[in-house]
Structures are given as C-alpha cells and as structure tokens.
C-alpha cells in the first residue's frame, strides 16, 4: 500500500493499461467473432441461394407443359361417368364440341354470392409419370417425346 501511496501516477497508469488491454482484447474478440459470423452468414446465404435455385429448377421441370399435359390427360381419362348413384366430382372436365353448347357466362356481380357448402368428394389419385424425376433431368433423360 505504501508503494501505491508513493507511486500513485504509476499505479494509475498500470491500472489504465490493464483496463485498456482487457477492453481492447474483448472488443477485438467480439469483432473477430462478428466477422466470422458475417462470413459464415455469407456462406450460408450462397449455400441457400444454390438450394433455392435447385428447387426452382425442379419446380420448373415438374411443371413443364408437356408433363402437365400428360398428367391431366391421364387424370381426365381415369374419370369415367358411371350409371346411377355416382356424384361426379366438381373438378370433372367436360369437353364440348361447340361453343353454343356451353352455358352462358356468369356476370361478375354474381361472384359476390356465397358458394353452397358441398361435402368434398374424394378424387382418384393422379397417375404420376413414374419415369419423370429430377434425377432424369440431370441424366439428360425425360425430354420431349
């Protein structure tokens, strides 16, 4: 204590140096950690961007017009009108041979009316094209026939 009393300035300087070095060390470590976090976040962003691109490409492949065409034609063919006691699903597509056989267009004002609550009808599973897959795309298979 006598030393402290006799060397107040020196002790204060030593104390200041210690505090400053502790502070700087903490700050530098935090900055270093933050930089690493930013770098890691950057890498994660790039990684996720690649994943998103893959998903978008897969979505584009799965929703190709020819593929949807094939699936829809399979689906329509699988729905056959049955004799008596069969509720046709609301989503049944019917093709008319001429415009005159189609019902009149609904005016926009009628869209405000609430739709009747119908019990959902189970539809048959879509016959997916088992040959098509994103792996086929990567293999170069699955192009237009």
């Amino acid at each position: 204590m006598r030393f402290v009393r006799d060397n107040k300035l020196l002790c204060f300087l030593i104390f200041a140096v210690v505090v400053a070095s502790v502070g700087l060390t903490l700050v530098s470590q935090r900055v270093y950690d933050a930089q690493r976090s930013v770098q890691k976040a950057g890498r994660d962003v790039v990684r996720v961007e690649w994943d998103i691109r893959s998903l978008k490409a897969e979505l584009a492949y799965l929703t190709r017009p020819d593929r949807l065409d094939r699936i829809s034609s399979n689906f329509v063919q699988s729905i056959a009108p049955a004799a008596g006691g069969y509720d046709m699903p609301a989503s049944t597509v019917s093709f008319s041979s001429s415009l005159s056989s189609l019902p009149e267009a609904i005016s926009p004002a009628s869209f405000d009316a609430p739709l009747p609550n119908k019990k959902p009808v189970k539809s048959k599973p879509i016959l997916a094209n088992k040959k098509s897959s994103f792996d086929d795309l990567l293999n170069g298979i699955g192009g237009r026939e």
Binding site: R64, L99, L137, G140, G143
Partner: protein, 565 residues
C-alpha cells in the same frame, strides 16, 4: 496477521539493514506476478468462453466443399418460368494411389454411375483422375456411401434447361466452360456471363408447347421430314413462340446429330410458295390502287419466254382479285407481278424486310436468297413465292407488317431489346384492311378452312412449294405452309406453321398441301392460345367478308380490256 505480512516480517528480520530495497524488490515482484496471473486469467476466461459458454453450432473450419458464387444469369420466359439456370453438381475424381482394391472399386463405380472403363482410369499413374463429372444427387450419395478413401468430390457448376427439348433451339446451350454457343445463350452471352438479373424472353412456354405439340403430331401424321413454326405479337414484334423440329436435348448438344441441331425456324431459307401471294397482292393493290373488282385471265397458262406458269387445280377462267387469292392462282399472281414491275416489287419486298437479314436478336440470321440479276421472269415467280428463299422469320415479319395496319414492327426475342429499327409505315391502312379481308375470305371460302375455329376470326394463306432438286423442282417433295392472323378484325398475333416434305394420307385424301397439313396446326395453336392467354371470343366482331361474295362468281363476264393478261 496474514501469512504474507508474517513472511514479510521474517524476511525483513533476516535481511536486516536492507529493508527498504528488499521492500521495493518485493513490490516489483508482486506487480509482475499480478500481471502474469492476470494475463493467464484472461486466456483462461477466453478459452472458457469459446469452448463452454458459446458452444459453437457449426464447425469453424471450411467443410471442404467450396460454395461458389452464382456466375451465369438465368433465362426465363415472359411469365418468369425458368428456361435455363446454373446449378451446382458434384464431380467425382479419384486418387488411384489411395485405392487398394482397384478392381472391386471400379466395378462398384461402374454399377453406380453407369460408366465403363473405370478400371483403366484407376490403373493410371498420378494422383488425380476424373471418374465422372456432373453426378446426380443419387449417384453422389451412393458413391459417398461406399466409403472408399481415394474417392473425392469437387463442386462444379453446370447449366440446366428444365424445359428440355421444348426450348432447345430458342434458348440454345453453352459449352463446358459456360460460353453460349447457340440461341439466346450465345446472343446474350456477355449479359448472362455477368450474372445478376435473369434474362427475360418474350416467349410464352405454354404457347411454345402448344405449337410444338401440334407440329410434332402433324409430322407424325404426314410422315414429314421436319417442321417449324412461330408465333409473333403483331403490334409489339415480340416472338411468342419459335419451334424447329427435330429438336435436341440441350444437356447433350454435343451428341445430337446435325439435322437435330439445325434451327430451321431462324436459319433455314426456303421458297415459301403461295404465302408470298399475300405480299404480292398487297403490293399490287398498293401500287395500282385497284380494288377487288379487278380481274385476271387465268384461262390458259402464262408464258414468259421459255417459262410456262401454271395453276395447281386451275380454274381456267377469268378470276377476280379475291378469287386469285383464295384459289391461289399462280397465273393471277404472276399477272399482278407483271403489272407491278420488277423495281416496284423489289422495293416493296425490301420494305417488308424480305430482301435482307431480319433485324432481330438471334445469332447468325441469314440473308435471303434473291435472284441476282433480277429479271422479268423473277418478278413473275417471286409473286407466287418461287425463285426467292426466305426464313420463316421473314414471313412472320412481313405478315405482321401487313396485319399491323401496314406498320412494320421490330421483332425481338428478349424483353427490352434495344434496336435502331424504327416502326415505319410500309403500306396504307386501306390496303392493309383489304388484305385482312382477303385473309379472312381465304379461311372461310378458300384453302384455309382447316385453320378456322369457332368464335374467333382467323385469317390466313396457305402455301405449297416444290423443293428444288436435281433437274428442277420435285413434285413429290413439298414445303407446305400456312400463315395465320387472328383476330383478323383487330389483329394481334401471326402464327406460321411449315412442314417439310409431308406425305399425303387417307385423311387428307392423299394431299400434302398447306391447307391439309399446316392449316390445321395453326387452327389448333390458335385454339390453344385463346385458352392460354384468355382471349375471349368477340361476338361483336365485324364481318370482314360481308359484300365480298359478289366477287366470287363462277363465270365473270367482263370485257378483255378490263382484266390482266
């Protein structure tokens, strides 16, 4: 009394006489001790913080797979549907020195990857050999599961085309190094290489599919060699669809044959035949100011020097201007050409863009084959589409000009294309209207009936030309085409379909002309487009052909002076 104080006192007693300096030395030692303790404490605290307190979720080091930044921009259609993108793939390489049982590993790899010759690769000297590049995720997983040291992966990028063959000619493909080699990949290579925002095309992939599907069906029905077609927005010049069949898989363009790689739509030049009557008739009406009452003597073949011009299914009578059009009379058109004259026809064709390369953002657009020198006979033959060969793009551009009220649009494949080509008026609005009337008349009364669809006004012109062969034109090798415009009362789209060497079948009664082969394609495509694009039928559309029936008489009684001969 504390231990430290007692110790101090003992030392002071032992070293009596030197108390002051001992005290100073002791103090200094304490300071150094404290500082050292403090520094060690700092390190200890930091270590504790890093290892126990923070408890990192992810390893700090690199996992080994390099995550590359995205280099090449995507290509999308007008609705944002992905046409081309760059994806990361894993490529497998081996270090043969680290593989013990090479034969076994080679067999495993061949089974998984479907490649051959792996054993030869593993027998090579050196520490690096590619086994297969661009593995699928399943292959990657399976090879990884083998757990063979000496097999490793490198992350690479590869261009993918989700629409596959459908857009292969239009979008094109790239080299292994990522440089565009064909199509939009090549045309916009610099822009795509910079990355960033996707390149948006004017193409609608749904319309593209409708056109391709219909063309392929007709190629099959008529056993044609090839087919091509396109859809253009008349008002904006946007190319909505462009198809060339046969097509190819853009992922394996290097393995495709020459015929498949050939872009017939943009690069093939053909004599279009009677579709040119649309242009020569417009030229005649614009140049002479004559109307529908003008007549032409088609009773006998037309002779010009040593050449004789005949009609296919000749009417052998005097024909009015509309009748020349709907019966597709070569004689009538040749007489129009004679009346127009060589200079006027060349200028008109040049204004329509038929005499030079199409100014469009597509690589290697070819120049048409035009007669050099242009003689009188060439004027006659060019009036019905022979002796001059153009690309399908030329036909679409010229038709769009006529249908667009006489104003020539600027064609473009990509959105926001900058061009110096200014929209200019090529022919008067009244002539353009007359041509629309004739186009509609041809569909209702002429050879284009199979292009008509209920509820919509479709106009169009058929074309059937014989292909040139050894010793002249070959009657058995045809180019059958149909150019359609709809809705013809207020035209918005031009649709072109061409079949190369179709052969007649039972349904077509043995005919392979444009009316039987190409016109149905245009009808199907327009029908699909109305659904895809939500184009409602117009119940109030004017009847363009009202009053034209008086020009369609079986025998027209007129004086010789009034008709062209």
């Amino acid at each position: 009394m504390s231990l430290l104080n007692r110790w101090n006192k003992q030392i002071a007693t032992l070293i009596s006489g030197r108390g002051e300096s001992v005290y100073v030395a002791r103090t200094r030692l304490r300071v150094v001790q404290s500082l050292s303790l403090f520094l060690f404490a700092l390190v200890f605290i930091r270590l504790t913080d890093l290892t126990i307190m923070q408890s990192p979720q992810e390893p700090f080091g690199d996992t080994g797979s390099s995550v590359q930044s995205i280099e090449r921009a995507d290509i999308v259609d007008r609705n944002g549907i992905l046409l081309a993108t760059t994806l990361q793939v894993q490529s497998l390489y081996a270090d043969p020195t680290m593989i013990e049982n090479k034969a076994f590993v080679a067999k495993q790899l061949e089974n998984i990857l479907g490649v051959v010759g792996v054993d030869a690769k593993l027998d090579r000297k050196g520490r690096f050999v590619w086994i297969k590049r661009g593995l699928t995720p399943e292959e990657h997983y399976a090879v990884n599961a083998l757990g063979v040291p000496g097999l490793a992966f490198r992350t690479e990028t590869r261009r993918f085309y989700p629409q596959g063959n459908l857009t292969s000619h239009l979008v094109g493909y790239t080299s292994v190094d990522g440089d565009g080699l064909a199509g939009m990949e090549r045309e916009y290579n610099d822009r795509l290489s910079k990355g960033g925002e996707a390149l948006s095309l004017n193409m609608d992939v749904r319309v593209q599919h409708a056109l391709a599907k219909s063309l392929k069906a007709k190629v099959k029905d008529f056993d044609a060699l090839a087919a091509m077609g396109g859809v253009v927005d008349i008002q904006t010049g946007e190319v909505i669809a462009a198809v060339s069949i046969p097509d190819f898989d853009p992922h394996h363009a290097g393995k495709a044959d020459k015929e498949s790689l050939r872009n017939r739509f943009a690069h093939g030049v053909y004599e279009m035949g009677s579709t040119f009557k649309l242009f020569s008739t417009a030229n005649y009406v614009e140049e002479t100011g004559k109307g529908f009452s003008k007549t032409f003597d088609a009773r006998e073949p037309l002779k010009e020097g040593r050449f004789t011009i005949n009609d296919f299914h000749a009417e052998k009578r005097i024909l009015t201007l509309p009748e020349v059009f709907i019966h597709s009379s070569n004689i009538g058109s040749a007489l129009m050409g004679r009346a127009i004259g060589a200079d006027a026809m060349q200028k008109f064709y040049s204004d329509l863009g038929l005499m030079d390369r199409v100014d469009v953002d597509f690589p290697a657009s070819p120049k048409p084959l035009t007669p050099k020198p242009w003689r009188d006979i060439n004027t006659l033959t060019a009036s019905y589409g022979h002796g001059i060969a153009v690309t399908p793009l030329h036909v679409l551009l010229a038709t769009a000009t006529i249908a667009n009220n006489g104003i020539r649009p600027s064609l473009s494949f990509a959105k926001g294309r900058e061009t110096d080509d200014i929209q200019s008026r090529i022919l008067s609005a009244s002539t353009a209207y007359k041509m629309r009337q004739l186009l509609r008349l041809n569909v209702t009364e002429g050879s284009g009936k199979q292009a008509d669809i209920e509820g919509y006004l479709v106009g169009g012109k058929t074309g059937t030309s014989e292909k040139a062969g050894k010793g002249g034109y070959d009657k058995n090798r045809l180019m059958s085409s149909f150019i359609g415009v709809f809705p013809v009362d207020n035209p918005r789209y031009a649709v072109l379909a061409i079949l190369d060497e179709p052969k007649g079948n039972k349904k077509s009664f043995g005919y392979a002309t444009g009316g039987w082969t190409a016109a149905p394609v245009v009808g199907d495509v327009i029908a699909d487009m109305t659904r895809i694009l939500g184009i409602a039928p117009n119940a109030d559309a004017p009847n363009l052909t009202a009053g034209l029936s008086r020009y369609l008489k079986k025998e027209t009684k007129i004086t010789p002076a009034s008709y062209e001969r």
